[in-house]
Subunit: 337 residues, 4 copies
């Protein structure tokens, strides 16, 4: 814990969205945190669940009253707040997309708009299992998206060992619960539209998370083939599955990958490699802060990986708190198990 | 059929809402109907499902091109269109709330706004099973709401026979699928808010349909006690249940009501009285145009009635077509079975 | 805590049913409990979730290794185990129906079979909010059913104050998530049968919980009228709502009941009386060990009460642990908040 | 139609399973069919929905009273009935797996048991869009499985044109509604297990439909690489999606495939190729007898195909009736549109 044993004073921007709600819930249980404020322009004045606070408008949030801020704001709105907080010496956990891509050019390519604060880039990518060393040293963290978290963790042991055959596609057929689409009511999140339905969206290489996933996986293995990524909307409230299909190099055998994954993640408290034959399902992870992974060796060269997270937890707020714990030197899983 | 055997030319206002969509689907199958247009300001230009038409904006609808109009518009917007259509000599099937209450005073009481066209009132209430004689003679019909349809049909045989003990409350615990809340996205119809949840709303006597139900049931039996009506939002897309609890007069026996209901509805093609012991469920009626009713004699004086409809069919569009068939002299169930 | 500060050694019979699973989850977090075994004949050998144990067959459970047993067994199978455990000096928390009715005659009436161990009756009814004084003194507790818990807590302040008009019916329209039907696959719990459906069952006075509810409410107010109770199957996994409609005596006013309920439950940590106008929903209680109650004064004489619980928590396992805490002198809400 | 214009007398074996229920519903609307009997040992005596019949036990079905039989029986039970019916000169539509594989060896490999009637093999595969010429000439048809139908139709234009690069894997990430698992209650179809969950099963190459798919696709294109097929259980009642990922030969361009698919299926009334950019969803096909397909050209060499059906309709009973219509010379889509 910090020297003077004072709790860390924390503010949450965007505390009434779905990621914000889970964030508030986790922080309320965190023994070294005092939640000072949570902002919401839409729900201003209403009670912040599980606390004695009420949501305050964005304009009333007082950065001088806190040591750290979590930003669960829309992209483009988040970076300026991050810049201001950083300038005041606060620690910044940004759950938006604004700081995930390393260059303004990449941001503009995937988000179709100039980066609001290019001077902030690059920022350490807040996936502890692949980037812990950089996270602990940084005052500002780009908390990864839900699809990238689940996909990258599903691929990571292969990437580290260079197991994937160059030039072969990496196919990710992904499925997400509806909370991933945000709390603002939209036609595609209307109950009647989702109930009994299942639908792909942003297929192929059109989803914004493609840029983020590719950036991170090619850092580890620069010889990868094309990423093909198709997300689908699942008629459940929360939970995300990345079904990954890869081709291994001839000198690898898919039957050996179980041991590789178990070894890679053996000391990771928030990644569970399931035993052979047990398939990862949403039920394994919903309302937890962990990722679960199962492997199916289809043939010696072909491996099928199923990686699952709770999109609001390990895919958003849980991971943000994991990063927070690292930055402040708390046990990494505090409030997360 | 009409003398010259020409199909009836029909226009649908508000054809892209949930009731409008079902209306268009039914009308497309109707052998004596030509659907000329369907309006939608939100979905203008998009295909009208199951037809070769595209939605046109409200302003472009041509009343001179049709013989009849169905109005699936919001309340307050509907009555002026009804008035205009009536003046042009069209037949009008109004699915909004605007024409259901018989007086402007009642309308203002329940809808909190002056009636836009008080000169239209009263209009025959379009529940054929209780008002067929007046429907067939009228060029304009107030198509009943979903809760009133289901509740009134559940009570009707008792009302006709004066079986309910005066001064005792009539308790209606109702449950509706989410399509009843309309297609416009709202916080309470967001998938995440509804999934896994069940919630009462407008409890006691605060829901607007209380006025409509009371108006109709007291016409048949003026000595009724208080109507207590609490609707709930069910996590399903369609279907509505009214669970009704009544006290009978001492000279009635709840065990005799099965025969009374069967007799009352024996010639009604769209009301099914289930055999004793079989309970009415949503599954009995979803995607049909019928109402199903089951009775439980709890004690000689206490009767429990379960009445179910598809809120978009017998509770809205199916009933509108049933009224349409009556007005134009077609077989009442054309396109409905 | 007990004198020697040793943790209480606990065994769970029937630990793989839905109530058993929640029980194991709660007990695993309980700081004064060591879970020694959990039985399941169906799942014998499989891991007990959240623990290092594996399910053992019923026949292998060793009563001599524990201080207390929780019985989440089918009725008729439970009482003999309770008798044996009691004889060995263990504390017994019975979640089955076997000990809830006070006489063998009542048991035979509602369960259609002679009581297996009539010598055990009567046993204190384990609803702490109405019977705490007797629970703390007893080595054996009949943990209430989910419908009775939710209904009785919804009525209790009225019963204590004698507010209900004698001779008027007490109407309970109840709805339960599917886990209430147990984990064994049956036609009525098949996903396809429940999805998109909503159905009443055991209507009127035919459900077995009628006997249990009546027994307890008439102990407090012997002048009550007929209980009318119709449960329904909700297409959700967990959560239970009792929608209660009562008539008050002329010298009571429904508008005063909010204060009465707040006062009655002011010191109860697991009963939340919601503020006026806020309606109780499943979302208020799912995955919690509390009951939430909202009141709607329909007219001075008519009161509508909505009472909700998680059927597996306050309706089963949470309540069992609450009773356990009382018996052993732990803080009542240990492991429950 | 048949010479004497008499309706075809039809019997359904296994008429109370989910495929059987849809079959009965379709046949009841078929203008050239008289449904003579439907068997069910489980539901014997109960009403056959939408008809005046009652289910009869298997043993009471009279083959002499019918011209054709539909077999919606479990595999192994079906073939002996097919053999008997064929011997009597009846037409046989077998919806089980018994006749789909062309050799007893293949059957034994995938079903783990000797074929009950090897003398029947091979039987024409009843997917009209790829095998119409053989279907019309045969008295007995092997109606395809739901996954094979959806997958093969999604691949067919590519197979015919030899577009797929040999040696590259064909990846099928499939998702099915729960009715695909049958009506008999099992732990994995319990509502509580499926609700809010999503889970893979029989991954890689272990599902029995792999053999059936490979048999048919390699008949058309013998140079295909490995089929990787992972089905998942979707929390919906009906609907099936096959998400297919393929690599094209260098002289093909994925951007040209839209035209190829449109051309291939231009005269197929039950296969809808969606316009570019529109993604196929369950909503496109549920409760219809059609397949809908959408294409995403990911890169010139990589094509992503989404193919959807209602697993009980085009994936089972609708297709069986389509085959029936072909055999008897009726319009192919009779009772299916």
């Amino acid at each position: 814990m910090t020297e003077d044993q004072q709790p860390i004073r924390v503010g949450v921007y965007g505390g009434a969205g779905y990621a914000g709600l889970d964030l508030v819930e986790i922080l309320a249980k965190h023994p070294q945190v005092t939640l000072v404020f949570a902002t919401s322009d839409t729900y201003g004045g209403q009670a912040v669940p599980g606390t004695n606070l009420r949501y305050i408008p964005f304009a009333e949030a007082d950065m001088d009253a806190v040591d750290a801020v979590f930003l669960a704001l829309p992209h483009k709105a988040s970076a300026p707040v991050a810049a201001k907080a950083l300038a005041k010496g606060l620690k910044v956990l940004d759950l938006s997309a604004d700081l995930r891509l390393n260059t303004p050019e990449a941001y503009e390519k995937w988000y179709g708009t100039p980066h609001p604060n290019p001077e902030l880039l690059p920022v350490p990518y807040g996936l502890p299992e692949i980037n812990r060393a950089n996270i602990v040293k940084s005052p500002i963290i780009a908390v990864p998206g839900c699809y990238p978290t689940t996909t990258i963790l599903g691929l990571y042991p292969l990437l580290c060992s260079g197991a994937i055959e160059p030039g072969t596609p990496i196919i990710v057929d992904a499925k997400s619960g509806v909370s991933g689409a945000g709390r603002e009511p939209k036609p595609n999140t209307h109950f009647v539209e989702v109930f009994g339905n299942f639908s792909p969206y942003s297929p192929g290489r059109s989803h914004r998370h493609v840029g983020e996933i590719e950036q991170e996986i090619t850092k580890i293995d620069p010889n990868l083939g094309t990423l093909i990524f198709t997300p689908h909307l699942l008629p459940v409230d929360r939970g995300l599955m990345a079904s990954i299909y890869v081709t291994l190099k001839a000198d690898f055998d898919s039957a050996d990958m179980q041991a590789l994954y178990e070894q890679t993640y053996t000391h990771e408290p928030l990644v569970n490699v399931l035993p052979p034959k047990e398939q990862a399902t949403l039920r394994h992870v919903v309302r937890t802060n962990a990722c679960a992974i199962s492997l199916t060796p289809v043939s010696p060269r072909y491996l099928h990986i199923t990686s699952v997270t709770d999109n609001l937890r390990k895919g958003a707020s849980g991971q943000a708190v994991q990063d927070f714990n690292l930055i402040f030197g708390f046990e990494e899983i505090t409030a997360l198990l």
